[in-house]
């Protein structure tokens, strides 16, 4: 038998100048297009840069940056927001230590965000040095949490419990406070606003609608007729109605029909609307994943004697959820952006604050471009990060590998 000698691999694609010559200036009309396109890009960039640094008037943002972050939350109670931030930073750090690569990109993103915020060159009297220092503690706390989380004594379930406590205590105790408390005086939700509300509504919406949606998806495939009927009715009704309508129903009708003693806070009413809306879509996404699981998986689980509950929780759901991460994250991104609709029911989220600032005085009215661009960038940063994190999560979980 003759042995065929190894051939050398074909040359790798050229780089640098060679690449430019081959791709941009290969023919006379290609060169022409490159020059024309380059000129266009150049002048556009020049215009954008001049606009940002010369023409644009950033006063609507610089005059009250805190407004965009926390709305009218009393400045003397600012420390409560700060403490909440520190708690979250520490927990994110611990999660990074315990769950490693699943959380890593999020933790690093948050750390960078805080650092940038802390040192951002913005001359404004409202952002004092103590506030900057306070913000700068966060990245260090993330790292400290990471070191703590890496130790052997800290387990996933400890961190999960702490998260649960924090997610309940922050929006229900620390931020709102109590009626007759001197340490935590009452701060009504009417003065909450800005990014704080946007994040509260979207994180609350995501965290609450996710399990609700999973239950609905399972319910829709249930063999119990009543459960199945309810799930289908709920999902199809909610999906047939726009979010604005649902928000409106929850904030107006709920207040109208419930006795005055049973008044539910308006932010919670809005959150309920968002959760209902999101749960219906989550349910359909999850159902897609459930359908993709081959029946052999359930048969194998039954054959080894697992009960239905264990089969669902240990075999079917982990595989189904992993399959639908891209869809679910996509849906959460739209949910995040959809929270701006609460402006309709009089809640001052990030966009609401922007509109309020624009109406603050006659000088600002014409500065819509600056304000909306600023808000758009904030939304872009968070949304882009979410889709990036979802890609990381998919890689870590090995979606597509079976």
């Amino acid at each position: 038998m003759t042995v065929i000698p190894q051939e050398s691999a074909p040359p790798s694609p050229p780089g640098g100048l060679e690449w430019i010559r081959k791709n941009l200036f290969s023919t006379w009309y290609n060169s022409l297009l490159t020059i024309a396109g380059g000129t266009l890009v150049y002048f556009t960039l020049i215009n954008i840069i001049t606009w940002i640094f010369k023409t644009a008037d950033w006063r609507p943002i610089t005059v009250a940056p805190l407004l965009y972050l926390i709305g009218q939350y009393p400045r003397e109670e600012l420390w409560r927001v700060g403490i909440s931030m520190l708690m979250i930073s520490f927990l994110v750090g611990m999660s990074w230590g315990v769950w490693k690569r699943y959380v890593r990109s999020f933790a690093i993103f948050l750390g960078i965000l805080f650092t940038v915020l802390a040192v951002f060159p913005l001359e404004t009297p409202t952002i004092t040095l103590p506030i900057r220092i306070f913000v700068l503690i966060n990245p260090f706390l993330i790292y400290f949490g990471y070191r703590v989380g890496r130790t052997k004594r800290v387990l996933g379930r400890h961190v999960a419990t702490l998260w649960l406590v924090a997610l309940l205590v922050i929006p229900l105790v620390i931020l709102p406070g109590f009626d007759n408390s001197s340490l935590l005086p009452k701060v009504p939700t009417t003065v909450w606003g800005g990014l704080m509300i946007t994040l509260l509504l979207s994180v609350g919406g995501i965290v609450l609608s996710f399990p609700f949606g999973i239950l609905l998806a399972l319910g829709r495939r249930s063999s119990l007729p009543m459960v199945k009927l309810f799930s289908i009715f709920f999902i199809e009704t909610v999906r047939a109605v726009p979010l604005v309508t649902i928000l409106f129903m929850f904030s107006v009708l709920l207040a109208l029909f419930l006795p005055t003693e049973a008044r539910i806070d308006r932010v919670i009413r809005a959150l309920m609307g968002i959760v209902f809306f999101s749960a219906a879509y989550t349910a359909e996404n999850v159902r897609g994943g459930l359908q993709a699981i081959p029946p052999g998986q359930v048969e194998a689980a039954k054959a080894v004697g697992l009960k239905n509950f264990h089969t669902t929780v240990l075999i079917v759901l982990p595989q189904a959820l992993r399959l639908v991460i891209p869809n679910i994250v996509g849906q959460f991104i739209s949910l995040f952006k959809d929270t701006t609709l609460v402006y309709i029911v009089g809640i001052n989220d990030l966009l609401g604050i922007g509109n309020a600032v624009l109406n603050l005085n006659s000088e600002f009215v014409r500065l819509q471009m600056e304000v909306y661009l600023f808000i758009a960038i904030i939304f872009w940063i968070f949304s882009y990060f979410m889709s990036y994190a979802s890609l990381q999560l998919e890689k870590a979980l090995g979606v597509g590998e079976r």
Partner: protein, 252 residues
């Protein structure tokens, strides 16, 4: 071999089992008794109901008429009885059906931990013994997708054995395998048969049947057409259908 168990009660009793899929009748009155320690091979053309029949034995399919009694427990709508029976029966599928999101070791320890309530340590110790037995202890921490078909099927056998079942069902365990991997799976099955496990095997591997089967059943159109010892079936088949089928599968 079955003689020594003759006065014992059979561990599997199926009497006049009928099964319909909508209007299609898949089983038309199948009766079979299997003694403890017996190895039974079921063969027949596709669509003859052989897979459906062994799937009724652990109630992956529900039979609509007739009686099935496993180790003294009758299969009915009683969920607790079904669970008890499934704990006594291990099953190996044509498509392996390993859990792709769990490692080999987790695949094997899952049921012992959640159903038998064993400690993780005990379950893992026994899982490792079983992996030794099927010859792939070094694959314990890999995922099913990283293994060859033959290795996956051996993991599936180990997974079924981990529950320490009294009966093992094999539903065409080698049909989805590349030819060079069939032997490694059959070797494990032969070893299992020789250890005294009660086995009901749907297969066309006639070499396996000849080597270890005590009885063979030929299924066609939802019925048992012919049964007997391997000797009787191979040397002196009675029915024309049996003869034709055997000549077709033994030709190659």
């Amino acid at each position: 071999m079955s003689e020594q168990n003759k006065d014992d009660k059979p561990i599997i009793i199926a009497r006049d089992v009928h099964k319909w899929f909508d209007n299609f009748q898949a089983l038309k009155g199948v009766s079979m008794e299997v003694q403890s320690g017996e190895v039974v091979v079921i063969f027949g053309p596709s669509g003859s109901g052989k897979s459906t029949f062994i799937r009724t034995l652990n109630r992956l399919e529900e039979h609509q008429r007739g009686t099935i009694i496993i180790d003294g427990i009758e299969l009915s709508h009683d969920v607790r009885n079904i669970e008890r029976v499934r704990r006594e029966i291990g099953m190996v599928f044509q498509q392996f059906n390993l859990f792709p999101h769990l490692t080999v070791l987790q695949n094997i320890t899952l049921a012992p931990i959640w159903v038998r309530k064993w400690s993780k340590e005990k379950a893992e110790e026994i899982a490792m013994q079983l992996l030794e037995r099927v010859g792939i202890p070094e694959q314990a921490n890999k995922f099913p997708g990283q293994l060859s078909g033959g290795q996956q099927q051996r993991v599936a056998i180990a997974r079924a054995l981990a529950m320490q079942p009294k009966i093992m069902l094999f539903d065409e365990p080698t049909s989805a395998l590349d030819p060079e991997m069939i032997k490694e799976v059959l070797d494990v099955m032969v070893e299992l048969a020789k250890s005294g496990m009660t086995m009901v095997v749907v297969t066309h591997e006639m070499g396996f049947a000849r080597a270890v089967a005590h009885r063979m059943y030929f299924f066609d159109v939802g019925m048992i057409v012919e049964s007997g010892t391997p000797d009787q079936i191979f040397k002196n088949p009675q029915g024309d259908r049996t003869k034709l089928f055997l000549s077709q599968i033994l030709e190659h």
